[in-house]
Symmetry: D2
Subunit: 309 residues, 4 copies
Amino acid sequence: MADLQAIVDEIHEKLTPRLGEGKVADYIPQLAHVDPKRFGMAIIDVEGRVFKAGDADVPFSIQSISKVFTLTLALGKHGETTWNRVGREPSGSAFNSIVQLEHEEGKPRNPFINAGAIAVSDLVLAGHTPREAIGEIVRFVRYLADDETIAIDPDVAKSEQATGYRNFALANFMRSFNKLTHPVEHVLGVYFHHCALAMTCTQLAKSGLFLAASGRNPLTGHTVVSKQRARRINALMLTCGHYDGSGDFAYRVGLPGKSGVGGGILAVAPGRASVAVWSPGLNHNGNSLIGSLALEMLATRTGWSVFGH
Amino acid sequence: MADLQAIVDEIHEKLTPRLGEGKVADYIPQLAHVDPKRFGMAIIDVEGRVFKAGDADVPFSIQSISKVFTLTLALGKHGETTWNRVGREPSGSAFNSIVQLEHEEGKPRNPFINAGAIAVSDLVLAGHTPREAIGEIVRFVRYLADDETIAIDPDVAKSEQATGYRNFALANFMRSFNKLTHPVEHVLGVYFHHCALAMTCTQLAKSGLFLAASGRNPLTGHTVVSKQRARRINALMLTCGHYDGSGDFAYRVGLPGKSGVGGGILAVAPGRASVAVWSPGLNHNGNSLIGSLALEMLATRTGWSVFGH
Amino acid sequence: MADLQAIVDEIHEKLTPRLGEGKVADYIPQLAHVDPKRFGMAIIDVEGRVFKAGDADVPFSIQSISKVFTLTLALGKHGETTWNRVGREPSGSAFNSIVQLEHEEGKPRNPFINAGAIAVSDLVLAGHTPREAIGEIVRFVRYLADDETIAIDPDVAKSEQATGYRNFALANFMRSFNKLTHPVEHVLGVYFHHCALAMTCTQLAKSGLFLAASGRNPLTGHTVVSKQRARRINALMLTCGHYDGSGDFAYRVGLPGKSGVGGGILAVAPGRASVAVWSPGLNHNGNSLIGSLALEMLATRTGWSVFGH
Amino acid sequence: MADLQAIVDEIHEKLTPRLGEGKVADYIPQLAHVDPKRFGMAIIDVEGRVFKAGDADVPFSIQSISKVFTLTLALGKHGETTWNRVGREPSGSAFNSIVQLEHEEGKPRNPFINAGAIAVSDLVLAGHTPREAIGEIVRFVRYLADDETIAIDPDVAKSEQATGYRNFALANFMRSFNKLTHPVEHVLGVYFHHCALAMTCTQLAKSGLFLAASGRNPLTGHTVVSKQRARRINALMLTCGHYDGSGDFAYRVGLPGKSGVGGGILAVAPGRASVAVWSPGLNHNGNSLIGSLALEMLATRTGWSVFGH
């Protein structure tokens, strides 16, 4: 499919003059020091073909994109009871807001805002030490991507831990409502580590391919989740995957996606392909500015919107 | 397609014992007096075939479903500048909440909550008297459904007007931020009238068919909107169409949809069909309880989720 | 008491260079066109002596200060059942916020924010037409001040009515919770008219004298309310009389007081005197900037704080 | 003044049948196990006379009443710059709400809600280790009460620390806005310890006497604060001392006061007396139910309201 490579190249070329727009996350030095002009993109279609551009093989901090993988793990362990602990509704607030937690007695709105992902970390911890839980998450992502080189950046994890006051606030707040079952430090240990996973666009696109292919990774033949669960995770990504910019992303791109403050976005075109894009500058909702544009261009060129051709 | 008729019949049969569940809207007598055991369903596929069950040809008050049609009209008149007046993000609140309006200085979160639809009514009024604007809306819906018998129920409109204090509050509040350009009474006149449209499931499914067919009604051959606009309206329905139950509807049904407090839901399966269902009992988010179940069953049986097969 | 006159004169002199600071209310032309350099002050002690400075005999729009008088009337008619309809707690929000109304199902936090005063107007209306209720309020204020010349400025009332969208929003919102018993237009008719009372500092100080003198106006000998009720109204003025600046006013001045957006403040020194001050420029909480300073200087000079000598 | 003793005895007698009403705080065992029928009251007038009833000499956990003493200390160290770190307005929310912190970027509304007292603990820590700061607070309270036996209950401090998730949430939240200058654990160490002070009604009344006597403790002759500062602390107690029941306390009692979740209340009658009351059952705002009634009866009998005679 020469077309798709041409499209990726065109997107890269068209966006190159704009690289550097947006605001790079600076709350920890490991993110602040990333070159703001980085741009990578990788598409893997359901037949296993790979299309890349730019820094597609440079690892970056996937941050909140990891929440897709921990949710998948938690659903595997706890099934639909997961939803007793976290909701499924868009939040209508910033990614780290604490206001709604108070109105809903410590139950987060969805698994992709920080509070919700912390609740999911608590679920993943069940029966494990933090070290074991972190190990399980890393192994799961390696299995998804079929790549044993994927690892956590320990400096990022350490910095998050040292400065993550807002997340400590969220976790303690939930704990005050008896909405966490493990010690706050353990839960956040897991959370900070999975957010510190470093991956390339290519690895990320591989990891998300099961969501584009009815729950089965066509590269490895592994069935990761059922068809229904794949659809449902996609639904959550579409409604909640971009914080308070989720509606806008659905409007402009029309694909399920999950962003991270490191500038990455994983998007899923069901039945077609998994796409990862990376560009560090963020828009005012905390999503990659150039990455969102790249996906909008891709959706326009390919007609891959889930909302019609 | 005998299959689809069989599926509709099965859904009807399976849900019949549960008819009457939920709470019928009772804020005006015209809604309160509807038989809670009514159930209708109509599917029209993009090739024009119709599949029906139950009270599919009994008219009911479409209420907020009309917001899809007024938004389509406003976009036709004002294009993307519509979004200067109303946002595109899920609200994270009840359909008639006023709280977010205060935080966002009178700009509603999206066109499908009451405040947002009131802003859209203001846009539809541009250059018109209220009577003309109402006439234009009725003509537009008749054109969409290719059915000149569709009309507003004047008693419903009158009752809404007489008791709609919350909507008067919302409109005056927006007016206080200079976010309405016409007199509050005029804007609400338009709003209350379009919410009072009475339609059958069959008519409603016809009216929404353009959204399933890339903007063109295959029954009439009329191009209503561009492909891109059809996709975008679907995206808005998916993220915002069921108030604070939008995430849950996306998770369970996986189709763009818009509900009304009269118990109707219009759902769109892009590339496949338009579906209307009606059952008056509502769940705690104000969406048809049995109607949502019917659509969930339909999505499961047909695999029509936009999120994968 | 030559001292008190000297103090008033000194305050006037010291503040003269600062006249014009703050922002004059401009939401209606009648307020916007007031000379921002006006300053009036009148003190009447419990022995009936009067001390004045500046424009103490120039009438101005007392606006929200009238809420003290309507509350007094409502308590006279309905006694402690008044508190079934309105709370007694500081609001922690702006004077016209609608957010708390939603959280508390349409029951306003206190009688001195707009929503609360609208509820009080509804109580004053009981058994009356709007015209009668307005007449009763005017007669009551004339009786308090022993001055038959006090009147409503009809242009102010008309302008408020024409532009008071926020108040229409508040009233309709309360009505939607069944928290008003009369038609919104009637209740707001009363509200807009009592806010449009025009009074001089001298008249205002006279009207408030009963609050300084255990419920009895020593000038006329009329017992207006019981000792207990006078104390309680003072308590409400202290905790809620300056919107979201009430705590600051208590801290700096230490006297019960009620401000109005026209730049007036009525303050009460229990057992000593009633004080009215007027200067149109407002601080960011909507209270007279120079008026607050004048009262702070007065409290410092006289040691009249209720919180100790 | 035999009268005052008779009044205290009468209050005790009249309230005895109601002892046990309300809900004893049960979030830590040390509070949960207190006998709900305890009742103590102590009045010390500005001439040093003491009037007691019931368990006036039984120590209890003063909890949030300690916030008056830490605020006094912080003002002594930092003067009016204290208000750069904490506001002076009633909160309109529960004592441990986190919502307003988000809207005001981590600056607490006043020093008597939990968040505000945590900010004050941070100020008291300046230049100290936590141990030193705690020592300074204990010495200060002993100095105020002229009683070297006053001490912290270490079990209470330990329990608070082990279960105080909400306070950890508040402190981390403030830290995330750079509104604390010391480590969260240090600040909360100080906070939990001063809340764990155990005192009798008699000791508490002595400690607060300087607030009734223009800043000077007439028992010891020590000038603790200036007259102005005593007035200002009283003003804060009146507007903010009873959480979201402050307005009601002002209305019914009319005296500055500060309550604690252990069931104690310290009230100040400026120029007259300091009063401490203790009864463990709490009302829905978290203030002593019987204690509030006792103070209301006292105010009625004595006419000590600051709002008039």
